[in-house]
């Protein structure tokens, strides 16, 4: 596939961001390759109700 890009004028006023976190990126510029991955684990078993003990080994 041939992909042609014409970059014309970009004039941005203000960029206001509260937070950038967890391997995120805020970028002003060009990049050839951007590859992002995120794994977030909050299963039901991760809600532990009971006396506070050190975290036990989790089985699969």
């Amino acid at each position: 596939m041939n992909f042609q890009v014409y970059n014309r004028d970009i004039h941005v006023g203000d960029i206001r961001v509260v937070g950038v976190s967890s391997s995120s990126i805020l970028m002003v510029g060009d990049a050839e390759i951007i590859q992002l991955a995120s794994a977030f684990d909050t299963p039901a078993e991760s809600l532990i109700i009971g006396p506070f003990v050190p975290l036990a080994v989790e089985g699969r």
């Binding site: 992909f3 941005v12 950038v20 990126i25 951007i34 991760s46 009971g50 006396p51 975290l55």
Partner: protein, 124 residues
Amino acid sequence: MLQRSSSVKHIHITNAAISSVIQLGDSKIINGLNRAIAVQREKQLFIGDEEDFSKYPIFQRPIIFPQDKEDVMITSFHQNPMIHVNTINVIAFSSSSILHVGNTQAINMEARIKHIRQLLPKKN
């Protein structure tokens, strides 16, 4: 190929923490990794030395990216070789995040977070 330049007049950052990077200028390769075990307890209690990434499969499991099905020939024409931004205002950067002003070749970022909540037993 001729590159575009970025022009940012003002940058205001309140906080950049936990391996965050403010990169002004071009770069080539960016690799970012963030791993976290986030424990929330109903009562304040810090046991310490209980976290071990190897205990949790989420930190081992491979992340598979979709394969490129087709070769793409990209040709870009920079009719205006400048990117203008007046102000960037960010309160906080955290956990291997990046502010990048300038060009780069490849960015590869990964975040793995295990969330655990511990509540006290119900009182009857």
